[in-house]
Symmetry: C2
Subunit: 301 residues, 2 copies
C-alpha cells in the first residue's frame, strides 16, 4: 500500500492500524493519495484501489485522473467530513435565523428591533437538497432543535429522520414549501445553478439558504439580486462561485449575506477525520469488504 | 380567575383551554399577571395563586410584590421559554466556536486564516453553570452535536444527559476543566459575579462563555479586561450588566465579544410559549395538582 506524496504520521498510523503495510508505488496494490490532481502519478497496473483526499471529486474527473475504463476502485473522502460540515451548516443557519449579522454589527442596544428579527428553528421545515452524508449528519441536529427535514435525493428513497424524501426530479416542489434550504448536492452538470432566479422567487421572504456543498449550485448573480431586493431572509455560503470570492464582490457587504471561506471542515477537524476514514477503508480492503465512498465514474461523484 | 392588566386573546384562550373562568379581581381565586411589578394590585385575601409573566423574578422580589409570609403560591414563567433560550445559547456558542464575528466582518477571502480559527464542538466539554430549565433544554442539543455537558446545580443531583453534575459549592472546579461555559443561573446574592477575574483566569484560552441568564452573573469589567488581552476565546452575551449596555461600551466593539440585546426569547416565541405555560398551570390548579415553576421566597427564584 502506497501513501503519497506526503506521508503524515497520522496517516501512517491510520494505515498501520487498518492492517495495511506501506510500500513504494511500484509494489503497491493500493494508493492513499494526499496531494492534488496535478501531482498524481501514472499508476502501475496492479493498483486495484485509490483513496483520494477530498469529499468533492469534480477536479479529479476534470483533470482526467479518475479513469472510468479500468476496473480499479476509486474512493473519495465523502462522509468523512460530514459531521464537521453539518455542524457548520447548523451554525450558519442559526446565524441567519437568529439575526446575528445585524447584531454583530450593532453598536447600540436595540431590543425591539432585533427582537422582531430573531426567529426560532423550532417547528420549521428545512429542505436539504442533495441529502448525502452531510445531510444525513445534519438531520439529527435539526431534529434536536425541533426542526423538520424535507430531504431531496437522486432516488427519493426515504432518508431516516426526514419527514419526507423527494426524488431529484421533484426538487421544484421544495423552494416554496421549506422555511429554509440547505444545499448539499455534488457539483455535476445536473446540479449547476440548481438555485437560480426562478427558484429564489419561490422561496419564503424569511427563508435562509445555506450552501456548504459547491458554489456552482447557485446562480450567484441571481442570488445577489434577490438579496439586494430583500426577497429572501438571507444566504450563508461556505462555498461560492467564483471561489475564492474576489475582493469587492457585493456578497462581502450585503447585510443579509454570510460568507465563510470554505472552512466548514477546518484543518483541526480534517486531518483526524480523514485518518479515521483511511483506517476504516484500509481495514475493509484487507478483509475484502466493500469500501466506503466509492466513486461512480458514470455519475461523476 | 383574573387576567390583567392586559387581556391578550391568546391568554384568554389559554385560560379557557385550561379549564379556567375569567372574573374580576375581587372574585378571583387566582391571578395571571401580564404587566410589570410597578402596576401590581393589592390582592384580595382569597387569591391563592399568582402567575407572573417572567422567567427571572428578582425584580418582583425587589419591588416587594412577592409576599414571603402568606401561604399564597407564586409561579414564574421559568421553563416556559427554555427551548427558545437554549436554541439561542447554542447559536451563540456556535458563532463563537465557528469564528463568525471575524468572518462576518471580513471583506476578503482568507481560508487559511479563518480555517485556523474555526473549531468544532464535537468532543468538547461544555459546562452549564446553573443547569435549570434552560440548561436541561440545552443538553440534548449539545449531545446531538457530540458535545458533553458538565452540569452545575444547587443540589448536585445528577441531571439526565449530563456526563457529570456538580453541586454549586464545587463550581470552582469547572472553569479550568470545561472547553466552554454557558451561564444559566438565576440572579441572586449567591450568584452575583459568579464569573470574575479569578474564574476567567482559569478558563482555557480558546473557551467561549455564553450568558443567556442574567447580566449580574459576570463581573463585566473583569470580562472586558480578559477579552481585551485575548485570555479566553470570547464572550457571547444576551444579557449584560449594565443592561441595556450603554452606547460606547467596549463590549460593542471588541472583536471577541458578541452582544444580542436580550432577545433569546423573542416576541414571536414568547407569547405562544407563555400561553402554553398558563394553560398547563390553570389546568393543574383546577385539578388541585402541583403547579409548574413555583417560586421559593426563601431562595429568591
Amino acid at each position: 500500500m502506497h501513501l503519497g506524496p506526503d506521508q503524515p504520521p497520522l496517516l501512517v498510523d491510520a494505515i498501520t492500524a487498518g492492517g495495511g503495510r506501506l510500500t513504494g508505488l511500484n509494489d503497491a496494490d493500493a494508493v492513499v493519495w494526499t496531494g492534488a490532481p496535478s501531482d498524481f502519478p501514472t499508476l502501475p497496473t496492479q493498483v486495484r484501489w485509490v483513496q483520494l483526499p477530498s469529499a468533492g471529486v469534480e477536479s479529479w474527473f476534470q483533470s482526467g485522473v479518475v479513469d472510468a475504463d479500468s476496473d480499479r476502485v476509486w474512493t473519495s473522502a465523502a462522509g468523512a467530513y460530514a459531521d464537521s460540515v453539518a455542524e457548520h451548516a447548523l451554525a450558519l443557519l442559526f446565524a441567519g435565523v437568529r439575526a446575528l449579522p445585524g447584531q454583530l454589527a450593532a453598536t447600540s442596544w436595540d431590543q425591539a428591533g432585533f427582537g422582531a428579527q430573531v426567529r426560532t428553528l423550532r417547528g420549521s421545515l428545512v429542505a436539504i437538497v442533495g441529502c448525502g452524508g452531510i445531510g444525513r449528519a445534519l438531520i439529527p441536529l435539526l431534529s434536536a432543535v425541533g426542526a423538520h427535514t424535507l430531504a431531496v435525493t437522486r432516488s427519493g428513497r426515504p432518508i431516516p429522520g426526514a419527514v419526507e424524501t423527494l426524488p431529484a426530479e421533484r426538487t421544484a416542489e421544495v423552494w416554496g414549501r421549506a422555511h429554509h434550504v440547505v444545499l448539499g448536492a455534488p457539483a455535476t452538470g445536473q446540479t449547476k445553478y440548481l438555485l437560480g432566479a426562478s427558484e429564489l422567487a419561490q422561496m419564503k421572504s424569511t427563508a435562509w439558504v445555506v450552501n456548504i456543498a459547491r458554489g456552482s449550485l447557485i446562480d450567484t448573480d441571481a442570488l445577489v439580486e434577490a438579496l439586494t431586493e430583500g426577497r429572501i431572509g438571507g444566504a450563508a455560503l461556505d462555498v461560492t462561485e467564483p471561489e475564492p470570492l474576489p475582493d469587492g464582490h457585493p456578497l462581502w457587504t450585503l447585510p443579509n449575506a454570510i460568507i465563510t471561506p470554505h472552512v466548514a471542515n477546518p484543518p483541526s477537524a480534517l486531518a483526524p477525520a480523514f485518518a479515521q476514514h483511511v483506517s476504516d477503508n484500509v481495514s475493509r480492503f484487507a478483509r475484502g469488504q466493500a469500501l466506503a465512498a466509492i466513486i461512480d465514474p458514470a455519475s461523476g461523484y
